[in-house]
Symmetry: C2
Subunit: 697 residues, 2 copies
């Protein structure tokens, strides 16, 4: 039988298999969301491979979390350093932003491009210096980050040898080598694998001298190995376990050998292991006949093959991580993704971290409070505290979007409690709490027994304002906004104010506190640009806030507004806060207005203009921006009031609460009032009547 | 013992007790909400009383549902007709709108005013004709319709006799009358009570002739009864059961007797019953000595007393019906109340019935759909149908206000299903349903296998539009608005359209359909005012709607808008619908704009102007109204398209879906497009570029 002439057998290579760890997709998702955005340039990644180490299982080419570049500079570049079981393989990832783009990718061209790199590395000699470049790979993918599902397709480009390589013989290495040789080869391989310098070098030479001593050499030493050996084999880490076939890396290896040294027959050594040591029973040795085609030249890149099959078919693979992820984490990442999409597309300079870390205090959890909280969540704000004294009433849920019928059956849940519950139900990652508390009001005299409790509330409110970054004034009376306005001016906190008439609304941001200039003496820019502070809600007044609630009729007790108002004003209030947070000057930003939109400091903010006040009417479907400076006789934010509060503390507050005229006397409003008693003080009109205070621009 | 002189005993009267049936408060609440509003004028009511009919229990003065006037004309006026156990007593109700007003009522004056009426009726002789006016009563109340609690206080005005009446003797009637007399008195009383004419006449004369025959006579017959009787007693239906005292009605009776006939001693008969028949053992007969004070005159109204005590104290009573009411009914009434309050205070001409009966179809249940549904609920709209094909995704709840985290865990609930569930949780009285369906789109070709299903969807959509009154177009693609726009124009249904850019919004109402003029030939007014129809969403286009979704990148697939936009646009869309519904011309109302607000037809609508389009920008915090007429080459609402649709039906639709240029060819847009290919078609800009189509006013 051995003598019988057999037709040449075409050498068949066992294809590589890919394996992608979920950690890779998680890391890639982060990279995409945090750095790449919609940039779909190809990125360099590193696959990991190694010699087969099990008689029944081939070793895969694996993508792990660390397959991705560590930092932005290395997106196109070097290969990660590996270890004995994770020999790095250079790869490239083409990720598309749509499934249509994925399907439209020209796979043949992409494969050809990678094959060309291999061919060029062979021709240039680079493959001799760094043999890992012989086993490049390529992945195309579409990452649906909304659904956490990934479609992908690997290619392991292999240069097609023409004519094909024929196999002369193939046998276990233990049969090829003498036992003495085998022992020496094993020892040399184990040394090669144990050395940090060579453990991940997958292509090498095995030379066995006539005295059966084996040594492993780098490919570049081929010339040096000529002559003095009995046997010289081309070894490589073979991921394949099959006894009948060498693995895929041999293809490009043979292309190198043929092109570089023009050999006619090649002895190759498929190195395989067991339990971390060379196993010459699993390892193969073969002899192949390699013929150089007549037309081949260095300039012509050979054809290439290598797209991985999926269960025998030419289709991509896909994986969904959604089911294996914690639902809350999924929600967090989905919400984050939406915000990042907004940034990628429209607001590259948007600072999302400022939004996710800001702490908002909402005074009032009614129609406005509910809408403000919802819009804050839409912007990615995570930390919301509600202050409200009321309970959810039967008429609330149809207008107050955080409550349901269930919250008002029986005696009704406190709004501050129900709102917190609702936010958690909407988005479990919210950090939110509720404080059931009435806000002390000037002009609502209290008895001496009540003093401790009211002063306690003042302290709580002051502490809450100190511990938050932005305060929304959303209560339904004018006078309940006074103390928070004062405390925000005192603490120099951002205050956003929204108030509703029947069919008109006002949304404004308060200016910095009167002491903010001295506090920030270092910041010369602010001193320069901000010689005058913006006004607060009370700056336009010529009367101090007083009791407006007692003896109101049924209809007045109810906040009678057109249902469309609160969503509009609440949403605008949040957009205004976001504008302040994104503005380089923050609370000190001067007030813009629509008509100056082509000049001024609008370019500073990616969000557009940052007005001081917005007033609108649903009966006219109109909206305007206004600007008003801080008043020296303001009962809430003037230096007189703030310094009196700092000096006298509780006794100042009690006097304001118990004596309706105290604030007016203190600030000189009493005098102003006498001079101005013909003014129309309804804010819906005062933009026309009160030009020197609120300026209609 | 009998001979011994005893000091005069002051006659003591047992006070009346009030009893108010819950039905009275329910009826009064309805009256208040439906008719009275905040009008707090006193209203005439009728109490019901009758003779005591139980040895241990006095009869109360009772208010029942029928105590209230039946119609508006009788708010001040006549007394209800009663029966034997419900003898009508005229009363007056002072209901206040606040608890403070209730507390501030001048109870002494009110009582005096009622006492004066009694005194005047005595003086004028009216009390002889209609003796029921001797027992007037008075109620003050504060109805807190938000909490369904009622505070009230009865007064039974009694004229104070000065000097007081002294009692000479008082005994059971069975002891006063001989048994023969007693039998005859009983029979006569039973006859009086059995006659429809006299059963509810509570004051009467009992005359017993010398032959022991008794007869009951009207008070006005007193003169006629003189002389021919052995005994003449003043009888009355006594609600009191006590054997020791007559009941309260005797007080004013004695005032009448004293003033009218100037008697010194009076025999009175306290008529009481058992099981519907006169019971002379319970009934009392007494003799009183009545002295006319020297200063008394007809002009001087005697002092009066009569405020009812509550468990011995001078405090009002209160009752809460909330606990006994079905919570859903409470919610319904609370929501109704809020709307009525709005009407009372600000919009007297607002037609709430139009709102509560209108059926709204919402195409799209995303950010806009959720906000629109919520604002509709705020306006009292009860009937909402959602159409949406999508499921709730993890990123939705923070922006789509009808969904929670729970709706998106696992595979996610269909939005159309989750939205319905949410509406019911907010307000159980909602009539709402959801349809999971994609809207067929032009330029999205389908295979022949899909035809049946797509045409089925067209039919369903058409049926849905036919069965609703107003359609909201809230989907997130342009082309999905085409078929609904066409179907609304065809069916002449109100269509409200809202669309979002990244930081700008557009809200508009479509004009009437092209065939509306011929359909409404009778209505000359419309023909006159509406020579040109308002445009639809597609009227400005020079391209037909086409596939805009395929191959959009990740960020484009996501509706990337600033989070404040949807609340604003959704709320404006609903305010616009409400304006149309309240406008006398409805869908045919011409488009107003802000700058003409002082002229034009704005006075027609209590809500303000009714624009055609509203466009706004959150980056500029600005908002304007626009007006655009219908275009003859519109791909959705032109007569060409509608008549082609009516003629060809399904084949028309299939052609539009499968052939991107069909609609343009049909309407002549292809030609127009050639002429206009330099236009900027992005709607955010076309108010400046496209002046002849969309006119910026
Ligand atoms: Zn101020
Ligand atoms: Zn049109």
């Amino acid at each position: 039988m051995a003598e019988k002439e057999t037709p040449p057998i075409i050498l068949q290579f066992a294809p590589l298999n890919s394996s992608v760890d979920e950690g890779f997709w998680h890391s890639f998702s982060s990279l995409k969301l945090d750095k790449l955005g919609i940039d779909d340039s190809p990125i360099s990644i590193t696959g990991f491979s190694g010699p087969c180490s099990h008689p029944q299982v081939s070793n895969h080419l694996t993508l792990l979390s660390e397959s991705l570049p560590l930092d932005e500079e290395s997106l196109i570049g070097s290969t990660s350093h590996g270890n004995r079981n994770k020999c790095p393989v250079p790869g490239i990832l083409y990720n598309t932003n749509t499934v249509e783009s994925f399907n439209k990718l020209d796979k043949q061209s992409l494969l050809k491009a990678e094959a060309k790199k291999i061919w060029e590395d062979i021709q240039s000699g680079k493959a001799l210096e760094d043999s890992s470049v012989l086993s490049r790979f390529l992945v195309i993918s579409f990452a649906d980050l909304k659904k956490w599902s990934f479609r992908y397709w690997f290619a392991f480009p292999a240069l097609v040898l023409d004519p094909p390589v024929s196999l002369i013989e193939l046998k276990p290495a233990s049969e090829y080598f003498s036992s003495e040789e085998a022992e020496s080869v094993s020892a040399a391989c184990n040394d090669w694998r144990d050395s940090d310098l060579t453990t991940d070098v997958p292509f090498f030479l095995v030379s066995v001298s006539s005295d059966s001593k084996a040594s492993i050499r780098h490919l570049k030493d081929w010339e040096a190995c000529q002559g003095d050996h009995q046997k010289l084999l081309f070894g490589f880490y073979d991921p394949c376990h099959l006894p009948s076939n060498p693995g895929w890396p041999l293809r490009n290896y043979l292309a190198l050998i043929r092109s570089r040294w023009n050999l006619e027959t090649v002895w190759f050594f498929c190195y395989r292991e067991s339990r971390g040591f060379a196993d010459l029973n699993l390892s193969l040795v073969g002899q192949a006949s390699v013929t150089l085609s007549s037309g081949e030249s260095a300039e012509t890149v050979p054809n290439s093959v290598g797209w991985e099959l999926n269960k025998g078919k030419r289709v991509p693979r896909s994986i969904s991580l959604a089911n294996s992820m914690d639902p809350t984490r999924l929600a967090v990442s989905a919400v984050d993704l939406n915000l990042k999409l907004m940034r990628w597309r429209a607001l590259p300079s948007l600072n999302l971290n400022v939004l996710s870390s800001v702490k908002c205090l909402l005074l009032g959890a009614g129609t406005l409070g509910c809408q403000v909280a919802r819009t804050l969540m839409g912007w990615g704000i995570r930390n919301i505290t509600f202050v409200d004294y009321g309970k959810v009433a039967m008429s609330n849920p149809v207008r107050q979007s955080l409550y349901t019928f269930e919250d008002c059956v029986g005696r009704g849940e406190f709004k501050a409690v129900a709102a917190v519950k609702s936010l958690k139900q909407i988005f479990p990652a919210m950090e939110t709490s509720g404080v059931v508390m009435a806000i002390p009001m000037p002009g609502h005299p209290i008895s001496s027994q009540e003093e401790d409790s009211v002063l306690g509330d003042c302290k709580r409110l002051s502490d809450l304002i100190e511990s938050h970054d932005a305060v929304f004034l959303l209560t339904d009376t004018r006078e309940s906004r006074w103390l928070p306005s004062l405390l925000c001016a005192n603490a120099n906190k951002i205050a956003i104010n929204a108030a509703l008439g029947f069919d008109s609304y006002m949304v404004m941001r308060h200016g910095a506190g009167p002491t903010s200039l001295s506090d920030d003496m270092q910041n010369l820019d602010i001193n320069k640009t901000n010689t005058q502070r913006l006004g607060c809600y009370f700056c336009n007044d010529v009367v101090a806030p007083q009791d407006s609630m007692t003896d109101r009729t049924l209809d007045q007790q109810c906040t009678v507004t057109r249902p469309g108002l609160a969503p509009i004003a609440g949403a605008l209030a949040v957009e205004l806060l976001v504008g302040v947070l994104q503005h380089p000057l923050g609370i000190n930003a001067k007030g813009d207005n629509s008509s100056l939109s082509n000049t001024g400091n609008n370019d500073d903010s990616p969000l557009g203009i940052l007005p001081h006040q917005i007033r609108g009417s649903v009966s006219q479907f109109s909206q305007i921006t206004l600007l008003g400076q801080a008043s020296n006789s303001c009962t809430a934010c003037s230096e007189t009031v703030i310094s009196e509060y700092r000096k006298r503390g509780n006794s100042f507050i009690l006097e304001a609460i118990n004596h309706p005229t105290y604030l007016e006397d203190l600030t000189g409003l009493t005098e102003l009032k006498k001079a101005a008693n013909s003014f129309n003080l309804d804010w819906e009109d005062d933009d026309t009547d009160d030009d020197d205070v609120a300026v209609d621009l």
